[in-house]
Chain length 773, copies 2
């Protein structure tokens, strides 16, 4: 089983920070029989077949609750009204920068992809044209396959060998980050570089992928970097924005970055804001949302502006995103009331196909976790997929006899004539011999009759399996565009069939409209996003008339899909055993109370504690919580001690590093006064306890935690119900919640994992296992 869980790519390396996550490993065994309602788990084999029934203890949580210790409060109290205003202005500046840089990155990716893909298609096209006449098209196929494999190889090598976390779209990782789980290395500069290069390689390599998903991750990395005013990787500290060096502020900026990414990818600033909120925000703050919106706007504007210059049309601000669905003109967008059931039916089809996609990809991922975990194997698999994609495409084009006249205002960039008559082109090639973005646009907007049904059917079938195989490879790539493409293909097919059934050949069955609905249905069926996806689709089409049908389609797709299996991102999050907190506690969890979910006993520290004890507590790998309640013993009293604060592992590490010891014997301070700056400088890569040397003499010293602990941690009584604890946790973004008895004595500690363990399965409430892996 270790074999299964160990090698999942985006978390396969140990976190350098050395902290090993919170949880209750000691209780793992003894916890089982506590609840009476474990019927659902009975009868399961002892050996757990897949790790989605586990919660990993290796993920740390983020602290979205400000640590209000004396140092912090002193700083805040010193700050003037003007100081707060300056902070506010710098937040706006940072958001502007995030938007600008994200837009630039999107622009860079777009231009490089276009240039490289253009070159590739040009060369292959010429080659095909040459060999169509003389025979020997297999040489063209080989050329094409080699091109693809070469690009994909580069992309896969940098991902597999340098930064496995950059694989995939990055959306699951950003979801986890915004949810409050620290995914190691997810917002590092190196990840960004690998991601950007990787996505260029995989798109140019002709894989069934999009460049949109990775933009969200890229925006998040940009935000995490810019807001901290330094780069730990580059070892440069610009000494600015030091106030923002904590999880609370950083999360806000990462939300803005993710929104800017969505905005640049789809030209959907409002959709970006809603994406961030849907995935991340627990506490909705007006000013924050407004800043996020600002970052989104700047991002799409920057992209638009630079692309307009690149396209020699400066000032034309009509290309707001990487993908442009093209303009749906008013006459073609109109829909009638009686079309709505048809759209809903399409939503159901999308939900079914999406569920199928997800199940297949799930099995594939399990297979990959078991057998394809060595980097070299991953690179080879990616190359294989690239070669197969080229071969299949070529075969499809080769055997297709769907020839279409090449009109005067044809929009195909690389029309392949192949065996068609002069002045005609191969219709299958518009779908396969093109970047996926262009194919989507053709499916939306080409005149009725451009594709014949067989072409569309075959294309849907092959592309479905190719895309499914591709997602999860060790390359940077998104699943949005392939989903849209599959959906657009069968949607258009649906429209054509519909038009052929209705004898009147009426205008209402415009195939482009059905292609759009199909695209929405398929994407919704796979990723199961709701509100934000509706808005993204609406913004990308540039037409709000479709709002209601798109919403209905997405809703149907989600309901139908959820009946079978979760969304693709959630599946991948579960396979990583991430302790992800959903919006609400499972509905039937009112019978659980804090007493039952908390970890107990808890390691507590005294307010003035011996250094040796602290070092031992931190070094003890079996009590690897990251927060410790601080208690005060009532003098001459045997009673358990009363809670007086909470201190974090990271704070203790900094204290130990700076030797903030009090030598009791001589009763003098041997250290300079520690400041918030020292904590900020160490953030976020606190050294492991093993790297700090504490001498035997020092072990006998005392440490006064009063100034550094959070003196007012949130507490709940033992009888608090799980939904109440959950709400407190989720609304405030907590990391630790101290459970106290009615005398304010510590009886336990609730962490994210204690809550994430409970989830609603098919047979009622289920409890996940905790595992060290």
């Amino acid at each position: 089983m270790a074999n299964i869980t160990k090698k999942v790519s985006w978390s396969s390396r140990a976190d350098e920070s050395g902290a090993t996550g919170e949880g209750t490993p000691l209780l793992n065994g003894s916890e089982q029989p506590r609840h009476s309602r474990q019927d659902s788990l009975r009868g399961r084999p002892k050996e757990i077949p897949h790790n989605e029934k586990l919660l990993s203890l290796k993920f740390e949580s983020l602290d979205y609750d400000n640590i209000e210790n004396q140092l912090f409060l002193e700083e805040e109290r010193r700050m003037s009204h003007m100081g707060f205003r300056c902070l506010e202005i710098s937040r706006w500046v940072v958001c502007g920068l995030i938007g600008f840089l994200t837009g630039l990155i999107a622009c860079f990716i777009d231009i490089v992809v276009e240039q490289l893909a253009g070159m590739k298609y040009q060369v292959v096209k010429e080659n095909i044209e040459k060999f169509t006449e003389v025979g020997g098209l297999s040489i063209s196929l080989i050329l094409w396959a080699v091109f693809n494999s070469a690009f994909v190889m580069v992309g896969a090598i940098i991902v597999a060998y340098f930064e496995p976390i950059a694989a995939g779209s990055g959306i699951p990782q950003i979801k986890c980050y915004l949810n409050g789980v620290k995914i190691p290395r997810v917002v590092r500069l190196k990840t960004l570089v690998v991601k950007v290069c990787g996505v260029i390689c995989s798109v140019v390599g002709g894989l069934a992928v999009g460049k949109e998903g990775p933009m969200i991750h890229s925006g998040a990395v940009v935000a995490a970097g810019v807001s901290q005013g330094r780069s730990t990787s580059l070892k440069r500290d610009f000494k600015i924005f030091e106030y923002f060096r904590r999880d609370t502020e950083k999360r806000d900026f990462v939300s803005a970055g993710a929104a800017a990414g969505v905005s640049a990818a789809f030209g959907a600033p409002v959709g970006g804001v809603l994406f961030s909120l849907e995935e991340g925000a627990s506490f909705w703050n007006q000013m924050l949302t407004w800043r996020i919106f600002f970052a989104s706007m700047i991002s799409t504007f920057t992209l638009n502006f630079f692309l307009s210059i690149y396209h020699n049309n400066p000032g034309d601000l009509s290309n707001p995103g990487l993908i442009n669905f093209g303009r749906f003109e008013n006459e073609s967008v109109a829909y009638n009331l009686y079309e709505i059931p048809l759209f809903i039916a399409m939503g159901a089809i999308g939900g079914l196909l999406g569920a199928l996609f997800n199940v297949l990809n799930y099995w594939l991922t399990i297979f990959r976790i078991r057998y394809v975990h060595r980097p070299c194997l991953q690179v080879m698999e990616a190359m294989l997929v690239a070669a197969v994609t080229a071969t299949v495409s070529f075969t499809m084009i080769y055997f297709s006899n769907d020839c279409q006249p090449l009109g005067p205002e044809h929009t195909e960039e690389y029309p392949l004539q192949l065996f068609c008559a002069d002045g005609e082109y191969n219709s299958m090639a518009t779908a396969f011999f093109n970047t996926p973005e262009r194919s989507v646009r053709s499916l939306f907007h080409n005149q009725p009759g451009t594709y014949n049904p067989l072409t569309l059917g075959l294309f849907t079938l092959t592309y479905f399996f190719l895309a499914c195989w591709t997602y999860g490879l060790a390359v940077s790539a998104g699943v949005f565009i392939p989903s849209l493409l599959i959906g657009a293909a069968w949607g258009r097919l649906f429209g054509i069939l519909l038009a052929s059934i209705t004898t009147t050949g009426s205008t209402w069955a415009v195939p482009g409209k059905y292609a759009l609905m199909g695209a929405a249905a398929q994407l919704g069926g796979i990723v199961r996003m709701t509100l934000s996806l509706t808005v993204i689709m609406v913004e990308a089409t540039g037409n709000i008339t479709y709002g209601l049908p798109i919403m209905l389609v997405l809703m149907t797709a989600k309901i139908v899909g959820d009946y079978f299996v979760e969304g693709l991102y959630d599946i991948h999050i579960k396979l990583q055993s991430v302790p992800f907190l959903h919006w609400e506690a499972p509905a039937t969890s009112h019978w659980l109370t804090a007493r039952e979910v908390m970890s107990s006993p808890v390691t507590c520290l005294n307010r003035i504690e011996k250094v040796g004890t602290i070092v031992d507590v931190l070094s003890n790998t079996s009590t690897n919580h990251n927060g410790f309640p601080v208690v005060v013993q009532v003098a001459g009293n045997d009673e358990p001690a009363k809670l007086c604060g909470l201190i974090l592992r990271s704070q203790l590490i900094v204290l130990l590093k700076h030797k903030v010891f009090v030598e009791l014997a001589r009763s003098r301070l041997t250290h300079r006064k520690l400041q918030l700056k020292d904590f900020r400088d160490a953030y976020p890569r606190f050294p492991p306890i093993q790297s700090i040397h504490v001498s035997q003499d020092e072990r006998e010293c005392m440490m006064d935690l009063t100034e550094f602990m959070n003196a007012t941690p949130y507490t709940v009584p033992q009888e608090t119900s799980l939904p109440r604890v959950f709400k407190l946790f989720r609304a405030l973004g907590l990391r630790h919640l101290v459970v106290v008895d009615d005398e304010n004595r510590v009886v336990g500690l609730v962490t994210r994992k204690d809550l994430a363990r409970y989830h609603l399965g098919k047979h009622g409430l289920e409890e996940l296992q905790l595992a060290q892996t």
Copy 2:
């Protein structure tokens, strides 16, 4: 001073429920010297000139925190997984109904207004045409003025005499409700009826008002009614949706209703969702948001569908809102980079004009509070405004010599020829002799040259003062459309001037584009909404290209306007002394702790308490908190008692009403077991304590609160900083927060008013006074 605060229309009547709000009136005097940093308040005169420096104690708070007592938990635990699913489905059904009914109401208002206004304008037009030839136009003027005054009189009478809370747009009231303040009678059926009739009368009466703002209030009332499955006014209980009879659920539905209202008003479903979130949500919940979006979509769809039937064009779904900005075609919407500074300048102008509007309206409101508080005076003022509006309009039209040729495709509904040549019409009349919605659309879309600058300048000037005078009258009316109209007028003027400056007469200075920006600037300058307004404007124009400039315009308008004075809604909320909680604690409030803000001492109850004591506590008007900590005395110990729960005034009232007493002597229960249903039946109009008769014998009985109290109230230690308390309050929607010492003994209680008292003034932190009025 009593005179000033007493007669504010939307809260002038005592709440029937009799509960008189929470607060600390006893401490009012003694609290003052507690803080050392009251410099800002020193030097002020003892007599407070305006009541915006007061917080009224008469407003109750809403409970957005579930009361998790034993009854509730038992019910939740009994409920199966299927039960929760059914609940979820009924939530969706309710939201669908809310959307549908809101859409129907919008449709009703639109059709009635169109019919009545059409009749009025037709009659007046014919009359004018008749008298233009023979002379004696003053008769036409009188006819027009009488028409207007008559309609307005009806509207003002029903508002002033029957339901004063229905005055105005209702947006401030809904803001307060969503913020957690119970405004008496704001979501009653009677309010809705008066609102709908009132808005029809005032729009048909030709006032400078819109019918859009009241839709938001109407949607909220619909939501509050439908979700409760009964109408207390009509004394009908449908015995459905009983689970939703509590503040938490009701608030969620009211959010959906407000969103549906916005959606129907502007055809902006996403804008509606964002409006609800911006104003209301503290805790963002994905499913809730999705349901809100559903309600919005259904609402705009319903409106669209029925209007399409009314317009004899069934199935044409292109009229999604009450106001339709008309379609901005692609060529005219393009803007260039160098236009952006112009837009920002317009934003600044809008901010300035908006601030001027608000200041004037503020003075006017103060005047009204002092002198125009009798209903008959209010009706007379409204009639006066109506007559003046008609007179001014007529005069402007009469003296205008801006004649425009009546093109073949002219869009004017009632073109007035007046003294123009045949085949021409008076341009001033398109602005004045029309419903405001049509005037806005003309300003946006009429060909360049349709208006001459003088016309626009004069129109802006007069309409500005008319609108300012109108807002705050005792009529149901919104300020959105007048603001848009003023802004569109000066925006178009701006565009015309710009085009005349640039010699090329270039196409970029399309006046319609500047009219749109001006409208956004003016509206933003007055109401200061940000994100939601951007999206509403974008959705209403049906074109997302304008996203960035509109956002910049709104942002500039807000920044400039905020420099001078608050937004119009906030001014009116302040004038009501509502304890409104903003998003965050004032920036410089870290030096305050729970100990300083809490009310203390607090009236506590014992877990088993004498009935007489409870009756006395509830009857004592000087301790009119609505929540009481329940404590348990440690037997044979003199120490202060420990906290064990929290019980609400309303719960105690229900307990007293049902005589849930334990007669200690005979030690038997004299009452049937109380159920959650009993509390739900009494919700939300709990009887006052005076109406409950408790005999002298019964006073000696005991009451066991264990089952009914919330056994796990949220608590904080005394040292908790104000921002932390504030965040807890805001994120969880609390009403009471118990402050405990380190032994878990009650030392105080923080309520909404204790937090709302602190706000950031020009000179740093200020503290508002509490007042009983």
